[in-house]
């Protein structure tokens, strides 16, 4: 078979759709309400922006990521060194803060974006999606599957994007309510505290092992890799570094634990602000059937939300403060999102697409309200 690119439709559904000669097909309207022509125009303009960024990237971008990596490593070394004197409270606080910042930078601005292949164009094997392993309990290859493939391709499609509630929380009216859902504010708090572990076990897809769509052998192999990674991370943070401090074992242990928890709370906050604030759309399988490139772009915009803040927020959120731009251009260097954001916003406004942005308290407040609201039993039984 031959194929042309860009294909008219990009959804893998187009291959799987059964013959429809004898059916009357009613085209499903795009959730944006835009016509196919408007979507095509939006897609072409977004592609042109992407092309412009591809042409622009160069030495200044390479210097940016190397500077961030250098800063992150200095923070980590300084934080761990200060924690050796952590028996003195100011040193414990300074050390823990620096280590937490180092872990946040590593996970958000470096690891997440390197594993998205944002820096592969540099062809530096030390800063490459195929080699990067991050300071997190989730093995890099499993993350790249659950995140780059499942989440970024099927953003906010219920039943496909497993990041919607991480299989734990009810984040949509269309998800079924059970008695256990009542306690989901507590589950959310627990997930936030243990977010790295939640992410680590995410790609196991336990529910698919239970319903038999995923083999036990595959899950066992994944589990083994997750266990090994958790072991290495714990050995470093909770055994070897504390032991090196000799009599000051416990201040180092608690400092490392606090840094990991702080990282968890922060990444949970940023990530939940990306797709669950008020006004962010969720989708069904019908919405993505025969989706065009323009339709895919529009869905990324509808399904994502930005956080308005300063440069520090951009850096510490790994530029997920530009979640919309990140979802439209997941493999373009994160330092370019701030520059392209006003133009994406202008494009959205011109095409009548909502562009969801707000301060961190506003966005996170609405996420918390959603978790609380959806914990309550729906007034009427949910249809479907």
């Amino acid at each position: 078979m031959t194929a042309t690119f860009p294909p008219k439709t990009i959804s893998p559904f187009s291959d799987a759709t059964p013959p429809v000669d004898d059916l009357v097909v009613i085209p499903h309207p795009h959730p944006s309400g835009l016509t196919p022509e408007q979507l095509d125009s939006f897609g072409l303009e977004m592609d042109a922006l992407r092309e412009e960024l591809l042409q622009a990237r160069g030495e200044s971008d390479a210097n940016y990521i190397r500077r961030v990596i250098h800063l992150q490593r200095r923070l980590e070394v300084a934080g761990r060194a200060a924690l050796f004197a952590g028996v003195l409270p100011p040193f414990w606080l300074a050390g823990t803060t620096m280590l937490a910042l180092a872990k946040i930078l590593e996970n958000m601005e470096i690891g997440h974006n390197v594993m998205h292949a944002q820096w592969d164009w540099m062809r530096d094997p030390d800063i490459h999606s195929s080699t990067w392993e991050w300071d997190n309990t989730c093995p890099a290859d499993q993350w790249k599957h659950s995140h780059n493939e499942m989440h970024h391709m099927w953003t906010n499609v219920l039943g496909r994007d497993r990041d919607v509630g991480y299989s734990v929380l009810r984040m949509s009216d269309d998800q079924p309510w059970t008695k256990a859902t009542r306690f989901q504010p507590a589950y959310a708090a627990l997930l936030a505290l243990l977010f790295d572990l939640g992410v680590a076990f995410h790609d196991l897809e336990i529910e698919h092992v239970v319903d038999g769509t995923k083999s036990k052998e595959q899950a066992q192999a994944q589990l083994k890799a997750i266990g090994a990674k958790i072991g290495r991370q714990s050995l470093k943070d909770y055994v070897v570094f504390p032991a090196l401090a000799g009599p000051f074992f416990f201040p180092v242990l608690t400092g490392n634990l606090a840094a990991n928890v702080a990282r968890n709370l922060w990444s949970f906050t940023i990530i939940f602000c990306g797709h669950f604030p008020d006004g962010v759309a969720q989708f069904t399988d019908a919405d993505v059937e025969n989706e065009t490139r323009g339709g895919w772009y529009a869905r990324q915009v509808l399904g994502s939300a930005n956080i308005a803040g300063g440069k520090l927020l951009d850096l510490l959120s790994g530029n997920l403060s530009y979640q919309i731009e990140h979802h439209a251009f997941p493999d373009l260097p994160s330092n370019r999102y701030a520059e392209v954001a006003p133009r994406v916003r202008e494009l959205c406004e011109r095409h009548g697409l909502p562009y969801n942005t707000g301060s961190l308290p506003k966005q996170f407040g609405s996420v918390v309200r959603r978790i609380v609201r959806l914990a309550r039993k729906p007034a009427e039984p949910a249809s479907g």
């Binding site: 031959t2 690119f5 860009p6 030495e59 390479a62 062809r123 391709m153 990674k229 991370q233 470093k236």
Partner: protein, 359 residues
Amino acid sequence: MFTRSRDRVAAVASVLSSPLPIDAYVQMLDPLWSTTGIRARVEAVIPETSRAATIVLRPGRPLAFEAGQWIGVGVDIDGVRHRRTYSLTSVPGGRTVTITAQAIPDGLVSNHLVHDLRPGDIVHLEPPAGEFTLPAAIDRPLLFVTGGSGITPVMGMLRTLAAGCGILDAVVLHHAPSADEAIFASELAALAERHPGLRVVHTFTGAGAPPPEAELTVARLDAQCPDWRARHAWSCGPAPLLAAAESAWSTTDQPELLRIERFRPLLFAPDDPGIGGSVRFTASAADTVADGHTPLLVVAESAGLLPKHGCRMGICHSCIVPLVSGCVRDLRDGRVQRDPGDLVQICVSAAAGDVELEL
């Protein structure tokens, strides 16, 4: 044994640096440190001609090599790592090594090396390799037939001989466009003065294709080096010179006395994006043909392969495969990749001419 104990310390330290290699932290103190690759600092850039320069490199650890071998050199240009191979021109055993590069028109890397590289810059090396070397026992006189920058591995051999047993009987037939562009001309002359056994003959070919009298023929070999058939011979230079040398030695009883070093030029993609070519998947030993429109993932699947992949639209990078040779074109934006080792997103890339992929 020094390196072995160093490796052991590195193994223990890697628990602390996990999940990154220990290199990530040691490089903060010593930028030349690496347990995985070879990093080197540029010590000096010495002009040889108007468009050639010798680059003195200090690798993080001593390099073991033989005269005549080449190394992979990786440099960052506008943020992108580019890798090329260059012959080593220094004598083995030193703490520094040298390469000599000649800038070719539109040559991104060669121009960077000759004109933009500065002392203090860091470059990335790959281990020395190649069989264009001196024999263990030199039981015959030597002959070197070179053109342009093809003199560089030969210079490495001559310097090594001069520093060791001496140059007892060697002839260099070197070809350059003009006297100004002949690399190492004065050093070769000085060597010949110190070593009576060395004779250097320069042939100037002018710009463009060489005139008939400058072409390498049996008659010219007979005139310039009458006993050429009995010598160990090495040839390195432009493709026409190598072809002429091969054809001359094929008329002798011992064509195996000629050793050849070929610098394979990078291929350019055809201008027409519709043009594909033959496709070889090296790991699967599968051959097929493809047009310039079909994603190589589809080409591989049609050839019966099951490549790993995810989104099929260029966002998840699950399908990347190293390029072995040839060119591919990105179907989204038309960008061409042609450097061996480049990682190709096969779901959004098509053949641009003949291509080999490690799949």
